[in-house]
Amino acid sequence: MTPSGTLILGWGNPGRLDDGLGPAFVEILQTLDLPGVEVDSDYQLQIEDAAEVASFQRVVFVDADRTGAEPFWLRRLDASPSGARAASFTTHSVSPSAILTMSRELFDAEPEGWLLGIRGYEFSDFGEGLSDRARRNLRQAVEFVSSALRTGNFQSAEPTVDSRADSPRL
């Protein structure tokens, strides 16, 4: 089957305040019902996501970011073994680049990978709901990504993002 469409894959725990930014992003995208766009979310990325992303042309991983630039950043991701040390100690989660690597190595698929990091602030307590600042950042991220998806011009959106590793600010 020829890969097609875009998968928005958010992850995080909505019971840990701003850690729920990824699933919150997915929930909003789902309501927009954009053509060619499917969404999914989970508490953590896992190995079976390698099989899921393999059927898409593009995948956008969405996570909360506790230290990065405000309000959000978007980076192109590559499948690279160096960034894919998926299991350390007891980690039961897998990095986005590891997902891409596994998708390539196991399913001969190379979806175009992106990582969207939305800046959050409150992570230390249990609790539902996002902080006000995180909510504002979420709105801007949704606006940016949905616009790119609507125009089908996702690739060309990259130049608006400074993708240097040390300053990924929009």
Binding site: W11, G12, N13, P14, G15, R16, D18, D19, P23, D40, S41, D42, Y43, Q44, Q46, I47, E48, A50, A51, D63, A64, D65, R66, T67, G68, P81, A84, R85, A86, A87, S88, F89, T90, T91, H92, S93, V94, A98, T101, M102, E105, L106, G117, G120, F123, S124, D125, F126, G127, E128
Partner: protein, 482 residues
């Protein structure tokens, strides 16, 4: 606390996903291991989080505790709420749907652990470079196994999705039952994959068994020690991962407690608080805090049950115990073999259930009976015995919650495993070497501990190892790039 004659080695793994655990090894003046402790960040604040919430929200709320085993918390809370609402016996559809969800969870969790967390240790050796000893290394050299792991995990996740609904907001189990049945359209794709899942499960048992037997000299003593074992079992002594009464045995198989109703757990189990850890240390009251600690999880369950009620897993269990002449196995690394026997059991159970027409029934929720203000439920989560104890008031609000999770139960055993390994490894050389770190990881990983109670956002630290003297001064540090 370290003294003038002791030195402290701290191994501090801060993974970006699971919060952090920290291993502290205390050496005496001759640089021999005096003590080893695994510190795990526990879910402080969770009780406060749910206090005052309506009890019927619990099955959804408690999933927030753990991104790794939300289904286990979901089902355990649902069972407790069944008791609160007086739903004494679920409908066949309600109970079987929940069981299917649970076996799906066991299956995917065990597959994930074995193929993608443990197999690098087993395939490449404990001392293989960490750059190789990971899932990418498995993909490079054993792509067939890596694919099996992915597809087994995916199969279990699809069962969960079909029974629980969304992954983040699973709502399948509700007070007194379930909110949906399994349609034929949902069932048939799962059945199509069933033979392959059984075949791969048998293969996984063989891999684990062969590894154990071929490396018995190393495996038998690696981080091993005699211990008590605890799980729930069915009334006839069969393994039952979803429901049952408590049984504990000692290292030789002699019973300590048997068929204790979960409601009476406080009669037989106490939790000790220790000043150096946020975690509690459960122990069997009749044995006492010093010797009453116990192991839980696959190894314990294989040891405590009298039999497994699915034929292939039972044959595998008998084969497993033949190595110890029918007595309990106290070999820490045998957790892997036991875990794969359970995966096979889960696959057999899933096959049985998918052929059961009750799953297409419409009677989803049992009648409610006499309302209770307190209840206790126990389930066997992938990592071991999980207990939820709740009190609610007349306004249906939660006033008390006590959760004993499997990693808490395995806390003391993991400490002992680390101590055994460190004692063998350090032998007078107070350094944190890659080899020591590797071996400690392998030992702890056998238990499949869940350290997931922290958040996981981008930007946290990778594994770090620190060596400190008895005054807290830094002697050495070993960090691994993320």
């Amino acid at each position: 606390m370290s003294t003038a004659n002791t030195r402290r080695i701290v191994i501090e793994p801060l993974t970006r996903v699971e919060g952090h655990g920290k291993v502290t090894i205390l050496l005496d003046e001759n640089n021999r291991v005096e003590q080893a402790r695994l510190h795990i960040v526990e879910f402080r604040g969770f009780e406060r989080f749910i206090q005052g919430r309506p009890f019927w929200e619990l099955p959804v709320l408690v999933q927030r505790l753990c991104g790794i085993c939300p289904v286990s918390h979901h089902l355990c809370a649902a069972k407790a709420i069944d008791g609160i609402v007086g739903a004494e016996k679920l409908t066949p559809t309600g109970e079987k749907m929940r069981r299917l969800m649970h076996y799906g969870q066991i299956y995917q969790s065990h597959a994930l652990h074995f193929f993608h967390l443990a197999s690098p240790d087993l395939l490449f050796g404990f001392d293989a470079p960490v750059e190789k000893r990971n899932v990418i290394g498995v993909i490079a050299e054993h792509p067939d196994l890596a694919v099996q792991g992915v597809m087994m995990r995916k199969f279990g996740q699809e069962i969960i999705k079909a029974t629980a609904g969304k992954k983040v907001h699973g709502t399948g189990a509700i007070p007194g039952g379930i909110n949906k049945n399994l349609s034929i359209e949902e069932r048939d794709p799962l059945l199509e994959d069933m033979d392959k899942m059984l075949e791969w499960s048998r293969s996984a048992v063989k891999i684990a068994k062969d590894y154990t037997l071929e490396n018995l000299d190393q495996v038998a003593s690696f981080g091993s020690f005699d211990s008590n074992h605890l799980s729930i079992v069915r009334q006839d002594g069969a393994m039952d991962l979803y429901d049952g009464n408590l049984r504990a045995i000692d290292a030789t198989g002699e019973p300590i407690i048997d068929q204790v109703d979960p409601l009476d757990y406080l009669d037989v189990i106490a939790e000790e608080v220790r000043p150096w850890s946020y975690m509690k240390f459960p122990f069997l009251k009749s044995v006492g805090p010093e010797e009453g600690w116990y192991r839980v999880g696959p190894l314990a369950r294989i040891n405590t049950c009298d039999f497994i009620d699915t034929p292939e897993a039972e044959a595998a269990r008998e084969d497993f115990l033949s190595l110890t002449d029918g007595k309990p196995s106290n070999v820490t690394m045998a957790y892997h073999w036991a875990r794969m026997i359970e995966a096979l059991h889960a696959a057999e159970k899933i096959q049985q259930l998918l052929h059961d027409a009750d799953l297409q029934g419409d009677d989803l929720v049992a009648d409610f009976g006499e309302r209770r203000e307190e209840y206790v439920a126990i389930i066997e989560a992938p990592r071991g015995t999980l207990l939820h104890h709740y009190k609610v008031d007349a306004n249906d609000q939660v006033t008390m919650a006590n959760l004993i999770v499997s990693t808490t139960c395995n806390n003391e055993p993991m400490n002992r495993t680390v101590r055994e390994i460190a004692s063998d490894y350090i032998s007078g050389v107070p350094e944190i070497t890659e080899g020591l770190l590797n071996n400690i990881e392998v030992g702890i990983r056998a238990y499949d501990p869940c350290l997931s109670c922290a958040t996981h956002a981008l930007g946290q630290m990778p594994l770090e190892v620190t060596l400190m003297d008895h005054r807290g001064g830094l002697l050495d540090r070993l960090a691994r790039p993320e």
